[in-house]
Amino acid sequence: MADLFDVLSTAIKNEEPIALATIVRGEGSGAKLVVLANGSSQGTLGNESLDRVVIRDTIGELAAGTSGLRHYGRNGEARQDELDIFIESYAPPPQMLIFGAVDFTASLCRVAKVLGYRVTVCDARPVFATHQRFPAADEVVVDWPHRLLDKVGAGLGPRDAVCVLTHDPKFDVPAVLAALKTKVGYLGAMGSRRTTIDRNQRLLDEGASQEDLDRMMAPIGLDLGARTPEETAISICAEIIALRSGRVAPSLRDADGDIHRPG
C-alpha cells in the first residue's frame, strides 16, 4: 500500500483530477482505492466487485467535484449498509479569467488566489499584460479576450469565473459575447452605471438577448462601498461566493438561521 499517497499527491500537484475512496466503517477499514477521471485505479477495497461499483460511483463524484460518504454491501451491493466508504474528489482548482490588465486586476488576482482559483490575466496590450505587474497570476496572456475565450471557453464550467475589467467597449463587448457562449458560472463586468447601460445596449445591438444580460453581473461586485482595488476585489469575490450559494448576501446580523447552512 506504500505508493497510494504518492500517486494521490502527485496528481493533486499536477492538477489532474483524482479521487480517493476509503472504507471508514466495516470490514477492511482503511482500505483504499485511488481513481482517475478515465476510470483507471490503484489499490483495492478488498474484492473486485466492490472495487468495480465504487470506481463507477467515484468517477461520478469526481466529475461533479463532490465528496461524501456512501453505503454499500460487502460486495458493493446498493441499499445495504455493511460498509461506509468515503469518496473524496480532488478536482482541479476552479479557473478565473480576468480581462483587462488594470490596477484592479492585480488585487483581484491576489484575492482569487486566496480562494484557490487558477488565475489567468488577459489583455491585448503587451505593455500592460506582463508577469511583473501581476505576479500572483498563474498565467498572463497577451491577446484579445474573445480570442482567448475561443481557445479555452469550452473548458469553463459552473465553478469558474470570468471578470471583465477593461471597461473599454472595444475589448469588453466581444469578451462578454464570447463568455456568454460558455458555461462559465460567474460573468461580471466592471464599469460605472453609465458604462453598464452603454455596454448593455452595445451587447443587444450585437445580438445578445435580455437573458444574456441578466446572466452578467454588471456593474461587477457586491454593494460593500468598496473604493480601493483591494476592497473592490473583495466585493467581486464576495459576489461570486454569494451567487454560487444562491444568497442575497445581507450581513449576518440582519439575517436569520444557521450561519453554516448545508449545501
Binding site: 500500500m1 506504500a2 497510494l4 499517497f5 494521490l8 499527491s9 493533486i12 500537484k13 476509503t22 471508514v24 466503517r25 477499514s29 482503511g30 483504499k32 489499490g43 465528496s67 461524501g68 460518504l69 461506509d84 468515503f86 473524496e88 474528489s89 480532488y90 444557521d258 450561519i259 453554516h260 447552512r261 448545508p262
Partner: protein, 104 residues
C-alpha cells in the same frame, strides 16, 4: 488533504509518524465540509483543521493515540454529545471524522 499536502510530504521526508483526521460526514450546521483534513505528527505538530477550532484539541489526542497503536477509527463530535467526548461543536451540528495513520 490538498491544504496539508506540503506538511504531509515534509513530515514523510523527515520519517515522522503521522495520523490524518478527515471530515467524512456532516449533519446539520457544520463549520467544514467533508474532505476537510487535519494531520498530527509524532511530535504533536499540527497541520490543517476539521472545525472552527472547537474540537481540534481533542482530535490531536485521538490522532496521537492512532499513531501509537496503529489504529483506525471513526470519531463523532456533536452538540448533544453526552458520551466519552467532553468537547462539542458550538454551532449545533455533528461531524464524523475518520482517523488513521498515514501508512498508505
Amino acid at each position: 488533504m490538498r491544504e496539508i499536502l506540503k506538511d504531509l510530504e515534509r513530515w514523510r521526508s523527515q520519517g515522522k509518524q503521522i495520523a490524518v483526521a478527515r471530515v467524512v460526514d456532516v449533519e446539520g450546521s457544520g463549520p467544514r465540509l467533508p474532505g476537510a483534513a487535519m494531520a498530527v505528527n509524532e511530535d504533536g505538530d499540527v497541520a490543517g483543521s476539521v472545525s472552527g477550532g472547537c474540537v481540534e484539541g481533542a482530535v490531536v489526542a485521538e490522532a496521537l493515540q492512532c499513531i501509537e497503536d496503529r489504529s483506525r477509527k471513526m470519531v463523532t463530535f456533536g452538540y448533544s454529545d453526552d458520551d466519552a467526548f467532553a468537547v462539542g461543536l458550538t454551532c449545533g451540528g455533528t461531524i464524523h471524522l475518520f482517523l488513521e495513520p498515514l501508512d498508505w
